[in-house]
């Protein structure tokens, strides 16, 4: 394997032609439609979250992955059910691909009792070990060593699965990123780091984040191979992750994938993006939208518009149902705040929270 493989990297569109997706794919037609479903689900769940936010039903912030959904969806879709992911906030698509239902996401954002964390934590900050999903914490980079530990645990148990830890151009500057990836590389653990180069960490451009040109260059410092992929080409993201997963699964160790993409929304809904150059967002919206590109690819390959419309209608129906379910959830009972710091069965009675004392 070359040090940096650019086979699936971004390419210019032919003159006068809009961008589409790579045609070199092993995906079957029904898989392509499933990918489309996840892309639309991700975008429309987020749009619903924005609506809920504007209705003041979301307690915290809303974090969008608009314009970069293909990276999360395509990469997670390349995994086996037993594989693990630990996403960042902009990887809702990967979370949905791993089988987390929109209702869980809605309930989390609205801080409801029926959410997986029971209102104790926000958005995708939870996990589901059965589905191979470990939610992030706000401290970027921390999940790289945690996923390294997941894979170390799996090796003890003779389980041969791989794990994707997502990171961004900002998160790669943290010490935890370095410590985790270095350890995974030394131990030859099957860790796939998907680094989403979306140009901004909150307001900070990548040029103020790192002196390398491509984030993929950082792989050399860990003695591991890297790929550069067009992060807005969902098929390329799938194919490159499949390559990386095969490589890792065969016992070759960690891999870094740099996905070139672009964050069209601010850090969160409140962010006015005053730091973005004029016309930049509009250019990406008009010329390099991952959903548009994939729709064009599908239509050119013989899928019909009514087929796509049927998928979208089904996604909307699921979102309506799940949103209604989440809205019908009560808020948590206040005293639930006092539970579950420790496994309460063994907390010394004298130190139990007052509400637990008889």
């Amino acid at each position: 394997m070359d040090q940096i493989n650019t086979k699936y990297g971004p390419r210019k569109a032919p003159e006068g032609q809009p961008l589409t997706c790579t045609t070199e794919t092993t995906l079957k037609p029904e898989q392509l439609l499933e990918l489309y479903r996840y892309l639309k689900l991700t975008r429309l769940v987020e749009e619903r979250l924005v609506n809920l936010y504007r209705q003041t039903k979301v307690v915290g912030g809303v974090f969008r992955s608009l314009g970069q959904e293909a990276t999360a969806v395509g990469s997670a879709y390349a995994l086996q059910p037993e594989d693990f992911i630990t996403p960042l906030i902009r990887d809702l698509g990967a979370v949905l691909v791993k089988g987390i239902r929109p209702r869980e996401i809605f309930a989390q954002y609205m801080a409801k009792a029926w959410g997986p964390s029971g209102g104790r934590d926000l958005n995708i900050h939870f996990g589901d070990m059965q589905k191979g999903f470990i939610g992030p914490i706000s401290h970027l980079g921390d999940m790289i060593p945690v996923m390294t530990g997941i894979l170390l645990g799996a090796r003890f148990q003779k389980k041969n699965f791989v794990g994707i830890a997502y990171i961004g151009d900002g998160g790669m500057s943290t010490g935890a990123f370095h410590e985790g990836l270095n350890f995974a590389a030394v131990q030859r653990l099957p860790l796939i780091v998907v680094a989403e180069h979306n140009h901004y960490a909150y307001s900070t451009p990548t040029s103020l984040q790192t002196a390398v040109k491509d984030l993929a260059e950082k792989a050399a410092g860990y003695g591991i191979p890297a790929h550069i992929v067009d992060g807005n080409d969902v098929i390329a993201c799938y194919e490159v992750t499949k390559l990386a997963a095969d490589y890792a699964r065969r016992g070759n160790g960690a891999v870094l994938i740099e996905a070139k993409t672009y964050r069209r929304k601010g850090h969160a809904e409140h962010d006015d993006q005053r730091y973005v150059g004029a016309g930049e967002i509009e250019w990406w919206e008009q010329n390099n939208d991952p959903v548009d590109r994939f729709e064009k690819y599908l239509l050119e390959s013989g899928v019909t518009q009514p087929q796509l419309d049927t998928i979208t209608a089904d996604v909307v129906r699921e979102i309506d149902e799940d949103c209604a379910w989440a809205e019908s959830s009560p808020m948590p009972e206040p005293e639930q705040a006092a539970y579950n710091v420790f496994d309460n069965s063994i907390v010394s009675p004298s130190f139990r929270p007052k509400v637990l004392e008889s």
């Binding site: 390294t148 530990g149 997941i150 003890f156 410590e179 270095n182």
Partner: protein, 342 residues
Amino acid sequence: MSTTLKKEHKSARPERGGQATMVEAIRQGIWEEMERDPTVFVIGEDVGAYGGAFKVTDGLIDQFGKERVIDTPISEGAIVGAACGAALMGMRPVAEFQFIDFISAGFDLLTNYAAKCRYRWGAGLPTVFRGPCGSGVRSGPFHSLNAEAFFLNTAGLKIVEPSTAYDAKGLIKAAIRDPDPVLYFEHKKLYRLPRLREELPPDDYIVEIGKARVARTGRDLSIITFGAMVLTALDAAEELEREGLDVEVIDLRTLAPLDKTAILASVKKTSKAIVLHEASRTGGIGGEIAALLAEEAFEWLDAPVVRIASIDTPVPYSPPLEDYYLPQTKDVVDGARKLAAY
């Protein structure tokens, strides 16, 4: 480069029980838990062939192999994070900090990931984070730390620190079996102290986390302390006994969650309390205990609570400086005399 090691070193399996120093007691405890439970493993810097900077894990690699005794890069963040991840998979990691001073480099993952995981999504992390703490051994500002106060204000971490070989073994075994993260602090001055050598029972015992111990029974005054300061308190108590003062010494053993019952029972009996610890005074655990006594034992107190702790400086290196920094037996004796006369 030679492929044979300079020294062919094989450690025999430690005895189960028998005469043991504190370091041997901790090793026995880890060893027995690794034999009992295949999910227990050791991870840290130089813990394998070298056996750890203080030889706590000596011999484990010969018995259990490098799969279960993992040498890591110099990377406390990786050690803590990997321990958390492995624990999510159902493993029971025993992670070593080479010196507890270096826990600061793992602070983020300890306080944000390990401590909050169960609360956030019900994923308890059965992890032990252990290492040598403590001053008085001329090791200077970066190898002498007592770190408990950094963590007392973080919900989700248990903290223990033994002062006897028996407790060291019982607490490490309890910590390994605990379903939540436990910080296990080992005072390096006590590791091989002949005074602490004692006969350990051959049976499989644990010391329950959250329970203090009465190290010395008395009726005139309580000294509430832990770790190496238990010995200082006992020395002071012996000296005071000759003056007719009957001092009780409470060895906390667990610092979080605190054994309020034991602390209050002792002070309600003696009505006078000294809180003694090695870490700096300001923001130390002594303030928490003094506040507890003010809130819940006010009616029983015959005098103000006295805190005796190190001065608010880094731990200095040179012996005269470090002796000035640390509470000495004489300081405790003087404090107790004044308190008794109040």
